[in-house]
Structures are given as structure tokens and as C-alpha cells.
């Protein structure tokens, strides 16, 4: 891994984040009405004092360029504004919600890639077999089901018919003060349905993608060579073929991350999962703009980080790219 590449990638990431900050600023300015009122939230409860303090903090009486610089300066200091509804700084609100979202998104990502790739590889062994047909049908269905509806159907199923998984929240009330392991198991138990709901759509896509990618690789000369030298079918499939077929899967996994966060927003709302998506939903209902903007900023940051990680793992996975700027 070369450092100058990493530094350049990080610098570019920061530039993108700066773009998000500018966009946030523009959105508040472009929204109809007095920006101070917009920031205070359209609850009608904003007092004159509150509006004055907002005008002061954001410099709303100064020229637009100065306002923008002030806004960027605030964000650089970790100040994303104050939520007037929750009566807390936005940054601490998000800090409370970020871990559940990361847990949900990463679990769903891992689940969908692992199961999807296994299904795809099995399907690629027999391009016209039952498994292949199943993967194609499943992928088309997976694409068409609204993720929030899958969640609701699972809630109905598991709340009334098979009550084996909790359908709401992240922890049981009675286990909130439990010790480490019990608590972790409790969270995992609550994680099953939301993570599965989120994983299903992407799982179908990964299955279809890895099937196509494997079929392409399995037709290549080096696979024939590997078979000719007597490598076992399992070794050919998983060692020779999958390693080469993995690159497009990795690319898509990186690109999917933003969509995964969008999906998490809906899934968190369905399962009352206490993450950033749920926070975004609550703050949008209350027109709590600083919080919404903060969530948009933070979620975009997560996508940027995921993209950098994808680029790096791409270089690790493909030796041809190593050492290149």
C-alpha cells in the first residue's frame, strides 16, 4: 500500500466532505423563508431571543460569503449546530446514534456478501441448473420488494406467529443493566430481523453478480490449466476462480454503501432501531433542520470512509494495482 495514494485519497475525501458542508449551507439558504426560522424549526415555538441567538451564531446579518465561512468554521470545530427540539448539540445527538447504525449496516453488508457470494458460486457451477434459476428469480424478486414492506411482513410474522425474535428496539428493557455478554447477546438477538431485512435486497444482487462474474472467470484459460493439472474442483472454484471473480463484487460492495445507508433509514424506522436513520426520521417530522443536516453530513462521511476502504482493499486484492499511484 503506498502512502501517497492513501494521502491523496484522504485529501479527496475531505474535499467531498467540504462539498457536503457547502451543500447543506446552500439548502438552508435556498429553502423558502427566513433562514433563522428554518434553523429554529418550523414549530412556531421559536422565541425572538432564540432567533437572535441563531442570527448571531450563524452570522445571518453578514454577507453570504462570511456566513458560509462561519458555517464551515463551525463544522471544522465539530459544531454541527444545536437541535432546538432535542435541546442538545447535534454532534452529541449523532454520537449517541451512530454505533447502532454502523452495527446494523455492517452486519447487513457482511451477511449479504457472504450469503450472496456462496449462492452465486453454487449457481455458477451449473449455469442451467436449479440453483441458477433460483438465483435469477430471487434476484428479480429481491429487486422489486420495498425494503420497509419486507420489514413489516417480518414484524407481523415474528410478533404474532413465531415469537422467537424481538421486533422492536435494540435492547430488552429488563436486560438494560445486564453484564457485558448477556447484553451483547441481547443486542444480537434484536439485530437478527433488521439486519436480515436490510441484507435481503443486496444479497440477491450479490448472488446474481457473483454468478455472472464466476461464469466469466470459469471460462478462462487459467481455470482450464488449473483443472488440467489436477486441482480439486473445490480448490478450482474457491481458490482459482473466486479470487479473480471477487473484484467486481468488491467494486459493487463499495458503491452499494450509500444505498445501504438509505435502506437502513427505512429499516430503522420499521424496527424502531435507535440509529441515525431513526433520528433523521424523528427530526424530519419535527422539522429540526440542524439535526437533519448533521445526519446528512455524517452519513455522507460514512460513505466517503467506506469508499476509501474499498479502494484500499481493491489494491490489496489485485496485485496488479499495487505500487501504482
Amino acid at each position: 500500500m503506498n502512502t501517497s495514494f492513501l494521502l491523496r485519497r484522504l485529501g479527496y475525501g475531505l474535499l467531498l466532505m467540504l462539498g457536503v458542508v457547502v451543500l447543506n449551507f446552500l439548502l438552508i439558504r435556498l429553502a423558502p423563508g427566513d433562514p433563522a426560522l428554518v434553523i429554529a424549526g418550523e414549530m412556531g415555538g421559536a422565541t425572538q431571543e432564540m432567533l437572535d441567538s441563531i442570527r448571531e451564531e450563524y452570522g445571518l446579518n453578514k454577507p453570504v460569503a462570511v456566513q458560509l465561512l462561519l458555517y464551515i468554521g463551525n463544522v471544522l470545530q465539530g459544531d454541527l449546530g444545536e437541535s432546538f427540539f432535542f435541546n442538545q448539540p447535534v454532534s452529541s445527538l449523532i454520537a449517541q446514534r451512530v454505533l447502532p447504525t454502523i452495527l446494523l449496516v455492517i452486519t447487513a453488508q457482511v451477511l449479504s456478501i457472504v450469503i450472496g457470494v456462496v449462492l452465486g458460486v453454487l449457481a455458477a457451477r451449473k449455469p442451467n441448473g436449479v440453483m441458477s434459476a433460483f438465483v435469477s428469480v430471487f434476484a428479480t424478486i429481491g429487486y422489486a420488494v420495498p425494503v420497509f414492506w419486507t420489514g413489516i411482513m417480518l414484524v407481523i410474522l415474528f410478533a404474532s406467529i413465531f415469537p422467537i425474535f424481538p421486533v422492536e428496539g435494540m435492547q430488552s428493557v429488563k436486560l438494560r443493566d445486564a453484564s457485558g455478554l448477556v447484553k451483547a447477546l441481547d443486542i444480537l438477538h434484536h439485530l437478527v430481523l433488521p439486519a436480515f431485512t436490510l441484507a435481503v435486497i443486496y444479497l440477491a444482487q450479490y448472488a446474481r453478480l457473483s454468478r455472472a462474474s464466476m461464469l466469466e472467470v470459469l471460462g478462462s484459460d487459467y481455470i482450464r490449466t488449473a483443472r488440467a493439472k489436477g486441482a480439486s474442483p473445490r480448490s478450482v472454484l474457491f481458490k482459482h476462480a473466486l479470487r479473480n471473480a471477487a473484484l467486481p463484487i468488491l467494486t459493487v460492495a463499495g458503491l452499494q454503501f450509500g444505498n445501504l445507508i438509505s435502506g437502513a433509514l427505512l429499516v430503522e424506522t420499521v424496527f424502531n432501531w435507535p440509529g441515525m436513520g431513526r433520528l433523521a426520521f424523528e427530526s424530519i417530522l419535527r422539522r429540526d433542520y440542524p439535526t437533519i443536516m448533521g445526519v446528512l453530513f455524517f452519513a455522507s462521511g460514512m460513505v466517503v470512509v467506506a469508499n476509501i476502504l474499498t479502494d484500499m482493499s481493491y489494491r490489496l486484492a489485485d496485485p496488479r494495482l499495487r505500487g501504482k499511484g
Binding site: L23, P146, V147, G258, I261, S262
Partner: protein, 290 residues
């Protein structure tokens, strides 16, 4: 001999694709299903009257219990059939409009970037990457909340967050096609850039773009449903997403008010995706074995 030659030329790629498509049974099922859904949403309420917001019966009447309300009623006692028939309109309209906006922005950006290359390409691709960093649904939620939730705003918001993929696809096609001989030939006879982009390259880049447009309609429908489910749709217009969202609190008492609209969304997007797959096969016969 001459006759045969002209006959051979008459087989245009579009005609060939149509012949492939016509023999693709899943795609035809998709067309039939989608036509049925569109007809039902356009003319259904003409035969089956009733305002979907009217409270007409006891709340949460299960389906099949009352002949007048075959699919039952929701938590307020509103007729589900009336809701399903009128609720498809906004969903389909927003889906189509958003897909058109997506294709419009995406094709323009991708065409300019791919054709001109150099700094234009660099700049436009940076803009594209920037939009890919924003989590689409979240950004659309922000736009809709800031600028009042009308069908137009929703279609605009979905279009604004969905175009980057189309732009990338268009750019890749343009990069490939602009090196071909007929483009050089067009330039040699003095065609201007504008003409080469829109009249020479774009028509030849269309097949993958048509497939992508079809799939974009599906994604846009899911998007609209998600926004309405969250309560960010136009509150004065009944839509499938809104039906699911407004009955969400009562799912453990009544499964039907959320199940039927969900199935309606599913079958709509499913038929769109069957058509998309069929078009893809028709345009790329070589890929069919995959």
C-alpha cells in the same frame, strides 16, 4: 440477389431486438402485468367509485367479510380497494417523471463528459462522485422537507439523487463509440459537435440506456413508496406508500391494510424489472446464457 441484399438491410437492430423481445415469455408477462396495473389505476376508479379518503365502514374489517369491500378496510374504516386503485396513480406518475429527470440529467452529464474528455470530463465526473457520496434517500428526504412535498418536488428529488449511475453508463458508452469510424466520418463531412453528440453517438448508445431507464423507473417507484411510507409524500394524495405508512402502527391488529399495497408495489416493480431484463436480453443476445 439484389433483392436479398435489400431485405437483409431492412433488418434494423431495433427490429431484431423487437423480435427477440417478442419471444421472451417473462418479458411479455411483465408487459401484460404492467399494462393491467396502469389500466387499473387510470380507469379503475371510473368503474369502482369512491374517494379513498372517505370513511365508509367499520375500521379494520377483514377482507372477504363484506361483499361491498372485498379487501376490507383500514384503521379508519377507509375502503382498501378504492385506495389501491387511486393510490397507484401518483406512484406510477412520480416513478415515470423521476426516471425521465434521471435520464435527462444523467445522459446530458455523461454525454458531455465522455465526448469532450479533458477538463470537462474531470469536472463533471467529480460532480457525479459528489452526488454518489450523498445517501440518496436521506438527501431526497431533506429536499422534500425543505421544499414542500408535492408530486413535482418528490419527482425532482428522486431525479436529483438517482442520475449519477446513468451518467457513468452514458459516459462509458460515449468513450467507446466516439472512437468508431462512423464518428470520424461524420466529423470529416463537417458535422458539428452538437450534431455528433445527439444525432450520431447517442442513437447508437441507446440500447443500454433504454435498459437502464426501465430499471430506473422501478427504483424510482420504490423511492416514492419509501418517501410516502415515511409520511413525506403529498399528504393530500393517496398512494400505496402512504397506505402502508399510515397503517403501520396497527399491523399487529390487522395485516391486510399494509399487505395489499405492498403487493401492489411489488408487482409493479417486478413487472418493470421483467421488462428491463427482457430488453437487456433482446439488445445483447450474446449475454443471454448468463
Amino acid at each position: 440477389m439484389r433483392d436479398q441484399d435489400t431485405n437483409f438491410q431492412a433488418e434494423s437492430p431495433a427490429l431484431e431486438a423487437w423480435r427477440m423481445f417478442r419471444r421472451n415469455i417473462p418479458a411479455l408477462i411483465g408487459v401484460a402485468m404492467l399494462s393491467l396495473i396502469i389500466l387499473a389505476t387510470l380507469y379503475g376508479s371510473f368503474f369502482y367509485g369512491g374517494d379513498p379518503f372517505d370513511i365508509v365502514w367499520a375500521p379494520q374489517e377483514p377482507p372477504g367479510m363484506t361483499p361491498e369491500f372485498p379487501l376490507g378496510t383500514d384503521y379508519l374504516g377507509r375502503d382498501l380497494v378504492a385506495g389501491l386503485l387511486t393510490g397507484g396513480g401518483p406512484t406510477l406518475a412520480v416513478g415515470a417523471a423521476a426516471a425521465a429527470i434521471t435520464m435527462g440529467i444523467g445522459i446530458s452529464m455523461g454525454a458531455l463528459a465522455g465526448y469532450y474528455g479533458g477538463w470537462v470530463d474531470n469536472l463533471l465526473m467529480r460532480v457525479t462522485e459528489f452526488f454518489q457520496v450523498l445517501p440518496a434517500l436521506l438527501f431526497a428526504m431533506v429536499l422534500v422537507t425543505l421544499f414542500s412535498p408535492s408530486l413535482f418536488t418528490i419527482a425532482m428529488a428522486i431525479g436529483l439523487v438517482s442520475w449519477p449511475q446513468t451518467a457513468r453508463l452514458t459516459r462509458a458508452e460515449f468513450l467507446k463509440i466516439k472512437q468508431l469510424e462512423y464518428v470520424t466520418a461524420a466529423r470529416a463531412i463537417g458535422a458539428r459537435n452538437k450534431r455528433i453528440i445527439w444525432k450520431v453517438i447517442l442513437p447508437n448508445a441507446l440500447p443500454p440506456l433504454i435498459v437502464s431507464a426501465t430499471l430506473t423507473v422501478g427504483v424510482a417507484i420504490l423511492f416514492e413508496a419509501g418517501l410516502s411510507f415515511l409520511g413525506l409524500g403529498d399528504p393530500n394524495v393517496m398512494s400505496w406508500g402512504l397506505m402502508i405508512g399510515s397503517n403501520r402502527e396497527y399491523i399487529l391488529d390487522a395485516w391486510w391494510p399494509v399487505t395489499f399495497p405492498g403487493l401492489a408495489i411489488f408487482f409493479t416493480v417486478f413487472s418493470v424489472s421483467l421488462i428491463g431484463d427482457g430488453l437487456n436480453d433482446a439488445f445483447n443476445p450474446k449475454l443471454r446464457e448468463r
